[in-house]
Symmetry: C2
Subunit: 146 residues, 2 copies
């Protein structure tokens, strides 16, 4: 069982063959086994790619994806690093959910008076993301954009 060609799996996950070769090149997919030079896959490749696609749509970079899902080394120190990385990502996702809620509220409120909603929510978002104290910098605000 390793009968799928590159265009088979590409079609099944909605990617082009070129993207899959690119992923192999980056180490996101393992080097595929070849039959007379051509890549052959089994269904596990489909599952990996499904995860990759989900993660991409949530804003994960290809580098993050590689480290989080396919980069775990066997040794202990690296697994400690992995744990830290995934904890950080879990926290990010938590925040992302709350930001989506705010955004949904904004869009919903804009069904009424667009300018009002935009200005009010904008003020709120600004305070929560950036405004520390009007005139002084303080260390609490997240450095989201270095």
């Amino acid at each position: 069982m390793a009968q799928l060609t590159i265009s088979d799996i590409a079609r099944q996950v909605g990617l082009r063959p070129s993207a899959i070769r690119y992923y192999e090149q980056l180490g996101i997919l393992p080097r595929a086994h070849r039959i007379s030079g051509q890549r052959r896959y089994d269904t596990s490749a489909l599952h990996r790619l499904a995860v990759v696609q989900r993660a991409r749509r949530l804003g994960f970079t290809l580098d993050e994806i590689r480290h989080l899902f396919f980069g775990f080394r066997k040794n202990v120190s690296a697994s400690e690093r992995w744990r830290k990385l995934s904890q950080r990502k879990l926290a990010e996702l938590e925040i992302q959910v709350s930001h989506i809620k705010t955004m949904q509220e904004l869009l919903t409120r804009m069904q009424g008076c667009q300018c009002d909603a935009l200005d009010q929510c904008g003020r709120g978002i600004f305070r929560s993301d950036f405004a520390a104290g009007e005139s002084q910098a303080n260390g609490k605000t997240a450095k989201t954009n270095p």
Copy 2:
């Protein structure tokens, strides 16, 4: 009250001045009022930019941002288009939340046996995102990648 320079607001929202000029060029920010050639802003620019930043981090493109937040024309037909667009975006955000939940579960489960969790969740995600019927195409699956 229009005393902030471009680098003032850039610093306050964590962007470079060049990004703000770029946004003006794209129509995401209105053409700023100038004093001897130089842009001056008031706090409402900060609020707009806070919204822009939030939206960007949630994966909105600059085009979407322009249309959703700053593109509403005064006439009725355009406002109908706007409503459709925002409804679509609200639905997308809903789906995004559920995908984040799945991803959190995957990462959490990977604290245990990574390969097992990855393969199991991958299978699930694949079925839910792509697998329609094994051998036949059907029209229900989302065309996420045209």
